[in-house]
């Protein structure tokens, strides 16, 4: 039937399909659908920048306008990957520029972004509108200046948790007077000062500005002026929030904040005087997102009082100084809560302020819509996890990090196998799971049996034998990313089903029992995988003994073979 529709009709239908997974499925139906989908695809998502080349990307999707690229493996966030491992965006920009692609949007995660790349983007793509950089590095304020100066229709500049060398803060002044298109500006992660006058003028001439996240250097009086000029803001990130509650400045701020009736997302407070929190109470009732994870200054009563005003909260990111009691307040106030992240305020300290299983149980009881969790805690019990599993069967993401990674259930001294088992059995839609605490092979048996939708699994300091890994590889049919550190998994587990790795994006194993010989075998059997050995020791040559245990192995499927940009510490088998 569909053969009789002209291409334009199919294209129009496909326009409604935006999710890349769905579009991938559409393209598999038949040749003509594949062809039509190809030419009409505007947004492309590439989860591993080394799985494909820019040339092949463009060959298949010549109409691409928006590109999302991810580079380094996830564990690079935790310093487990050498800084020069790879993930350079420049080669992509170069090819896109040379082939005349009309790139409008670029979203990068864990990639190395040079100033040169930013400059090339700004000078090549005339319709460039959106730059989102998450956990990237390699650029300075000079690159940002190029973007500001040359992208005439820039709508979005969103910098999240990047390491930026921004000692020269003039970049903000580089936005020309003619730039009035900004919708989103997030520079919270920059450490340097910005030209406050330029910032005020920029905000004044950006009537569409909906999201503004400031860095620490932006003082209170500037914040007040910005809010007066942009009462239409939906998302606000406050830089410095230090004022005397009885002062004129504070009154002016209160007035300015009250005018912002659309703010639904609040973050920042990078510098804060906690006694001034009452000034923001008027907008708390509308908040659906609140991120106080960079504000250790707000704790105790001030924090709980603030939260009590936020009845519509759906997403809350907080530090563990909230304590179990504070989480109780969250549980009784935030009935719409879907996502909770509790970060450690003192990762290596005595943990006096930390949260325990009690806080989590309270939240699970009070917030039945909870579906996404990241929880750093002092301890966890099986009983608590079982209760949480019963209260919240809707978890899609469940990431638990007990600060002492091999801590058993402190009440029973048992491993946490049963607790996590309950989670995977109850939460049938679970897609992402991170484990910690004392764990044996048993928990992996449960995961293999029950976690049918699981796509990403992170394991550390767990298991007793290869069986653990085998349970997972055999059971989790939808597994895409598996990352393992410090577990007793060896060649037997690694080699049991090497074909499986072609169905996954990547596998990371560090400080495990796999040997060089085992890794070589995988590489030989599966030419469609790149098997990388990362060796950061002082040895100038790799020890060629096959029986040698491998420090770090990262393998991933690819259509383009070995990459050419690996540093000396990386050996591709």
């Amino acid at each position: 039937m569909m053969n009789y529709f002209p291409d334009e009709v199919l294209e129009h239908v496909f326009d409604f399909i935006t999710c890349h997974k769905d579009r991938n499925s559409v393209s598999l139906v038949c040749k003509s659908w594949h062809r039509i989908e190809r030419y009409s695809r505007r947004r492309v998502f590439i989860g591993n920048c080394y799985s494909i080349s820019p040339e092949r990307l463009i060959a298949r999707f010549p109409g691409v306008k928006s590109l999302t690229l991810k580079g380094k493996p996830h564990f690079a966030d935790f310093n487990l990957v050498p800084y020069d491992w790879g993930g350079f965006v420049y080669p992509w920009i170069k090819v896109l520029a040379e082939t005349g692609i009309g790139l409008e949007e670029l979203r990068l995660k864990r990639m190395v972004v040079s100033d040169e790349s930013l400059e090339l983007i700004s000078k090549t793509f005339v319709n460039f509108q959106s730059l989102v950089l998450v956990s990237c590095d390699g650029f300075s304020a000079d690159g940002l200046a190029a973007i500001a100066a040359n992208c005439r229709f820039l709508r979005e500049l969103d910098l999240q948790e990047n390491e930026v060398d921004d000692h020269r803060g003039h970049w903000l002044s580089c936005f020309p007077e003619s730039c009035t298109s900004l919708v989103s500006l997030n520079f919270a992660c920059l450490k340097g000062e910005v030209n406050l006058g330029a910032l005020e003028r920029l905000v004044s001439r950006s009537p569409n500005l909906k999201s503004l996240r400031l860095n620490r250097s932006v003082p209170l009086d500037t914040l007040q002026k910005l809010l007066m000029r942009a009462p239409q803001l939906v998302d606000l990130g406050i830089g410095s929030y230090v004022h005397d509650p009885s002062s004129e400045a504070s009154n002016k701020l209160k007035h300015a904040i009250q005018r912002c009736k659309s703010i639904m997302s609040l973050s920042g407070f990078l510098e804060v005087a906690p006694r001034c929190m009452s000034a923001i109470y008027p907008i708390c009732g509308n908040l659906t997102t609140l991120n106080l994870s960079y504000a250790p200054g707000i704790h105790g009563n001030k924090l709980t009082k603030l939260i009590q005003h936020c009845r519509k909260l759906q997403r809350l990111w907080i530090l563990d100084c909230i304590g179990d009691k504070g989480l109780g307040v969250v549980a009784s106030t935030c009935k719409e809560l879907q996502e909770l992240r509790v970060f450690p305020s003192d990762p290596f300290g005595a943990g006096n302020d930390a949260v325990t299983e009690e806080g989590l149980v309270l939240v699970s009881a009070g917030c039945p819509k909870l579906n996404s969790l990241l929880y750093f805690c002092q301890q966890m019990t099986n009983a608590a996890l079982i209760t949480v599993a019963k209260n919240c069967p809707n978890f899609i993401r469940f990431r638990l990090c007990i600060l002492d990674p091999v801590r058993p259930d402190p009440v029973t001294n048992q491993p946490l196998d049963e607790g996590f088992g309950a989670i995977v059995q109850s939460c049938k839609r679970l897609k992402r799971l991170s484990l910690s605490g004392l764990l044996t092979d048993q928990v992996f048996l449960y995961i293999g049996m029950y976690a049918e939708q699981l796509e990403m699994l992170s394991i550390a300091f767990a298991a007793d034998s290869d069986k653990g890994m085998l349970y997972v590889l055999n059971g989790c049919k939808k597994l895409r990313k598996l990352e393992i550190r410090d577990c007793p998994f060896g060649n037997a587990a690694l080699l049991e089903d090497v074909g499986k790795y072609e169905t996954m994006r990547s596998l990371w194993m560090s400080s495990c029992e796999v040997t060089l010989g085992g890794c070589k075998t995988v590489a030989e059997m599966m030419p469609s995988l790149n098997v990388e050995i990362i060796n950061e020791s002082d040895q100038t040559e790799f020890n060629l003994d096959d029986g040698q245990k491998v420090d770090k192995m990262y393998l991933y499927r690819t259509l383009v073979g070995h990459r050419k940009d690996a540093p000396e510490s990386v050996w591709i088998l």
Partner: protein, 190 residues
Amino acid sequence: MAFEKDFNLDVTELRLGLPGTSEESEKQASTTLRISNKRAMPDMNEDSSVAADKKCDQETAPPTKAQVVGWPPIRSYRKNSLQTKKTEAETCGMYVKVSMDGAPYLRKIDLKMYKGYPELLKALEEMFKFKVGKYSEREGYNGSEFVPTYEDKDGDLMLVGDVPWEMFINSCKRLRIMKGSEARGLGCVV
């Protein structure tokens, strides 16, 4: 510094706990990451090729919490940001003013940055470019016209070095490096 060796300041230190016990060993025990010892009794997997005890052999000395690379799994950006806040927050530090007789302006130092008198005095010497004399309980500082003093909680001017370090940093409100004839009255023997 000479006085550290001559006088066992531990003896005079006021502390909770029985004499002879020390805090050190307790602290180490709680922060040590015991990977091998805390494993649960393994299910009898006789056929498993990699037994739990193999892992015990791997690590000869369990690393402390802070030394396990990449744990807890927090983004470096976030970790660095917390560190910055900790070192900057005045509530975490014990900043006191330091004046030196004759100097045009005062300085501020964080007493928590130092482990004891030797480090503190060395830092002061470097900051103000002077040298203290040799300390003795009987005679104070010998051999220099500079004498380190401090103002305590009661507002009294005291000689630096008399009381145990912990007691000192908890009672010191500001430091003053006295010079010359005024210093002599406090026990400086030039």
